[in-house]
Amino acid sequence: MSDASRTAPPLAFPEAARRAVANAQVRANVRLAQNAIRAKRASVVGELRDWEALRDAGAAIKRDALARLDELLAQLETSVHDAGGQVHWARDANEANAVVVGLVQQTGAREVVKVKSLLTDEIGLNVALADAGIEALETDLAELICQLADERPSHLLVPAIHKNRREIRDLFRERLGRPDLADEPGELAEAARAHLRAAFLRAGVGISGANFAVAETGTVCVVESEGNGRMCTSLPQTLITVMGIEKTIPAWQDLEVFLQLLPRSATGERMNPYTSLWTGVFPGDGPQEFHLVLVDAGRTRALADPVGRDALRCIRCAACIHVCPVYRQVGGHAYHSVYAGPIGAILQPQLSGERGQPGSLPFASSLCGACGDVCPVRIDIPRLLVHERERVNAAQSARRETVPLQAIGRAFASPKRYERAQRLARALQRLVVSDGWFVRFPGPLAGWGRSRDLPAVPRETFREWWRRERGA
């Protein structure tokens, strides 16, 4: 069973990554995609002379919003009510699913059309709907591809990035009954269009997530490219939006910052094709029944951590994923998490509260810092990864790896013990080195030795040389 399968059990990152790097096709696909998006992003960001000022504003607005979140959520609720919408609150995944299923059942619909929403993936909404006999049709092209292939999405933003055009063609030929399809992207997109259009035109219920919700006006914002978001949020009679509470921003004006940061960071465009901004219901235009479901599901847990809470600023642009050299080699499935890449390695343990297996996600990084440099809301991702590592260690105090490191730490705290450790290493290595190089790689060195040589500890350390040559 491939790691991409929806029912694959979660693996610890090192093992999942080991399998992923062996998949040359995924590596090639991800590499191609990363190179393309990096170039585009650099180009449109380079056009703006106020990019750093926008990042400063974005970070500050989010920091402020999280600090006043209780006040803003209450204000958002009032604003949405005043505009004719209804607001529901859900403490966890089960509660959120129950609310949504109940709302759909009230309409009598057996089918809903869905815009991609990472939160609904997190809570497993589609499964809950299916259990209630309601079919949820994913309408983003990549989500459709994943749904047809029965695979998990592998990227925050471009969920089918792990598939190339030939693989998609083969899938569509089989599952959409189009045996004649070529692998030309335009033709593939047209096949998806035809397949979904019928569903859009008859849909009675749409389900969406939200990129932002403005407390001041009660406006919900969805940023997209294909038009399926507009289809789901303006054609059906009933619209249900499921949103994490951290998406709340204070004021209408704040959109002027995020609508610049998000498109340029996410797809390297000056602006994405469609942004929908609706406020409650409006007579004669679009859904006449609107429900906003505010979901916690671990967000208040993340919020309670004064260091870790910065991760809640995330606007889901995926810029960090685009530049991550680790992601580049493994793709998204190896993270076994709705949120992959650098931000995923932080959000996953924060939101789930699980710091056991796979507690390996925060360690799935070389801490190169490329992510922090591009984050539009200035999340110091490397710092938060280190913070998560501390939390993992604290949660697993008998963790094997920390014991040797603690021992090394104690040795380093005293020059005498340090020098003794150096001499010990030199003595112990005799059995496994020859001609100045390791020839066998025992214990923790095994991983190193599979692909790299390692020089032996030389006969004389620097400080021994200094003492001998320079005296004292």
Partner: protein, 232 residues
Amino acid sequence: MRVALFVTCLVDTLFPEVGKATVRVLESAGVRVEFPREQTCCGQMHLNAGSRDVARTLAERFVRVFDGYDAIVAPSGSCAGHVRAHVPEFVDGGDRGVPERVFELSQFLVDELGVTETGSSFTGLLTYHPACHSLRMLRVGSAPLRLLERVPGTELVELPDAETCCGFGGMFAVKNADVSSAMLDEKLENVLATGANAVCACDSSCLMHVGGGLRRRGSSVSAVHLAEVLAP
């Protein structure tokens, strides 16, 4: 000016030649180098592994050992970067201004001393790999290149995708050895594509990883530290 050498635990133990080259480079620039024997390790590896307490102990030691010097020079962008960026937040009772007096070698030569020539006789075609922590944490900028450009017998060729991590990442190299190796493969592809005789960096950690990979492949391309290129 009292200048101390912070040799770093890695160079001290595994790459003493880099330490010796660093001393020669500094002395050729007219600097009298002292070596405080009490020094051990800056604690970066421990912080990154999530052992904050150990990192704190080592940070406090660092401040005590190097207090009193006007400049502390290290042949490592990541160690210098760690001390400057992280040590201040660790030390209860103040860092006595020590972190801001810590410099990586090229940074010290170019930005503090205004020196760009070191009397090196290194020859060959060279490519430079900017180690991530010197690039992003320390922000060493163009100092290494400005020095390398002035080495007479040496021609520099640009490394494609230079700023992409080589895959070392400390414990990451063994805990996630497969990904680390995959990242190394791509870095080596780029190094070999330059046709250079040698790849150079400010960090022995990256060089150990890149050099180890080159040797395993039987390549004649060597991995040399900036200090070794610059040393007269």
